[in-house]
Amino acid sequence: MRWGSACAIALACCMLAAAQTSPGLAAYDRADRMFHEHRFQEAMDAVDEALKLEPNLVPALTLRARLAMAANRYDAARQSLERAIAADPKSWYARFLYGFQFYQQNEMPAAIEALQKAHELKPRDPPSALYLGLAYEAVGRTVDALGLYRRAIELEEAAGTLHVETLLTAGRLYLVLGRFDDAAALAERAAKADPASRDPHFELARVWLKKAAPAKAIAEGEAALRLQHGDTPDRQIHYLLVQAYRAADEDEQAQRHADAFRKLEGRNRPN
């Protein structure tokens, strides 16, 4: 459910320009710059200053919400976004963030309601389509989810901003549905879109394992392991490679990956 890099991508690409001059705008601009420089406390001080000057400045309220979410303060984020929506009910970005924070908090009915509104207000916004799809998938509406994933891919392509994670999100659902060729096609597109990412190779390895082609699964799994960039942890790749090597009767290699898995497990033992 948690979705690290896609979240960052979505938030990064969804910045709203506050075009008009207003009393709090200068402070907001400063806050926004600091936010992008990861100077979060200073950004929070500047955004508070902007809101003191102009309590209903929507970009400042949405930025405040993003800062709160970065600090895991979802209650504070929610309050800021409710103020932003009250100030401008047509702000698709405030609606999107409102839905996004519900999604992050696993509150799916509320996430769906807010993301639907964001999607209606800006139907050509890929993240709204993507997150609405994710929320639908979480409540079992797989057909609706797939439709929205496809739409998000189209929109990203049209905008020239195709993201690996959008392709792989759709691919993973295809895998669950047993549509292995569709899943593989999307993973291959993702590998082309970002050759440095390990994630498409991991997903391809999963597909090949499902299709009883362990040699191809091994090739993709090993390729994933060689790449550093991406969200898939080594542990997951090692686990997959254990299964792939065992299916290929290469027990020594399987054991090598099992040992690597256990080593990582010992290091990162969860509570």
Binding site: Q105, M108, V176, G178, V242, Q255, A258, R269, N271
Partner: protein, 550 residues
Amino acid sequence: MKLIVAGVLLMGLASTAPSQIRFEEIAKKAGLHFQLHNSAAGEFHQIELMPGGVAALDFDNDGCIDLYFTNGASIPSLRKMGPEFYNRLYRNRCDGTFEDVTERAGVGGEGYSMAVAAADFDNDGRVDIFVAGVNRNILYRNLGGGRFADVTAQAGLTGVDPQHGKMWSISAGWFDFDNDGWLDLFVSNYVAWDPKAEPRCGNADTRFYCHPNAYQGVPNQLFRNNHDGTFTDVSRQAGIAAHIGKGMGVAFADYDGDGFEDVFVANDSVRSFLFRNRGNGAFDEVGVESGVALREDGKPIAGMGVDFRDFDNDGRPDLVVSGMVNDGFLLFRNLGKHGLFEDFAQRSGLLLATRPLTGWSLGMFDFDNDGWRDLFCAVSHFPSFEAYLGKPAAQPNRVFRNVTGGRFEDVSLAAGPDFQLPALYHGAAFADFDNDGRVDVVVTTLDGPVKLFRNITAGTNHWLAVRLHGTRSNRQGLGAVVELMLPDGRRLTGHATTSVGYASSSEPLVRFGLGTSRAVDRIVVHWPGGRTQEVRDVPVDKVVDIEERP
């Protein structure tokens, strides 16, 4: 002529058409008034979420399966402050009704109980009861005459670990790991929990139960039977204690066919364990190597109930594990090659069908006796999560029909009006309570009344159940593998175990649906330790008693 051919074809189709699995709920009618109390009072103690173990056992050897229910206690004292918290024993009167014999039997218990495991640990021919709990484990020895004695302390089964103290025990099971003819005890422990140090999750107005990540994991325990009414904690030398998890359901089967039963432990939100029995008193944890530690994508699920049973009739025990909403249940097919399993949940349709479910106890039994083991799962979401899911926590259970070992089909909606009854279902035990040849299910509900789902599936399919009587092996023959050879060449396999699902204990009989087969050519029993015994000319639609040849 055409009409005759069409008629014959239609008759043929009718005879092979599947029977719709159906249940009616009869707990009240049967005199089962047990009510589970978890003492939830808005403090969100983790233990409140977890109780509900139930056992199906024949404690008085009258051939009718009785019931034992575990129950909660007051919080934070963790004491059974009144009779409403007693664990309860109900005797099956063999007439469709039960009577509460708790006080007479002396099995009301103490502490916050979670789970029960029933088996004859002292080989005296009477089934004993082990209760696992948060602060107290109890071993009741069946004295006969409807009475039990608490022998926990002298047996050495208080569960107090030298390093961890008394851990929160959540499931338990009996099996003979060293094939010495005496049942040993495996106890699955959940997390380190202290009512005085309960973490708070959520905020002031929307508090909820914490994720298991908020608690430290603990090891499981293995107790070897000393043949004299006492047990030795061998968790460390056996290699069990070295593995820290968040244990939930536990199940046993000889998955690699080496003659020694292995152990699977479903863990909550961390990877599951498969302990391969080396046959020398030690176990290797091989979950990763065997492909059953995690979901196919390498992520853990909130594992709950588990059954270790052959669903595809290839003679090898497979694994099914329930999980939480959006996990999807795990179904692992035993490939019979180098101890490897294949994640079969997606291919069988179970992954997609179970992603919306939070599953607790479960069991693979042939509810329509068509020769393929189906899947029943007790279902409910966590009580504090309704707002998050947009669904009530109370849900109806689910039953999935096994379509010739390749696919599981959700047939719940057609399983009768009583089956649509939503509740906070948790524990479940499986047995034929009315001896009609159809497997029934008793299901506990969190802070609510018990439900008894009587199997009323129509149809003319035949069945056979094998009740084992060990002489050199343990008295109930737990761990024995039973093979049935049918006249049409089919071979069906099962093994004797009471450890099924979550926190619960089912009847020890090995049951088979035979479909349209009216005969069984022979039964082969592989007793623990490797001795084989064959029985021919076996009647069907009966419970067959097989005593181990000395």
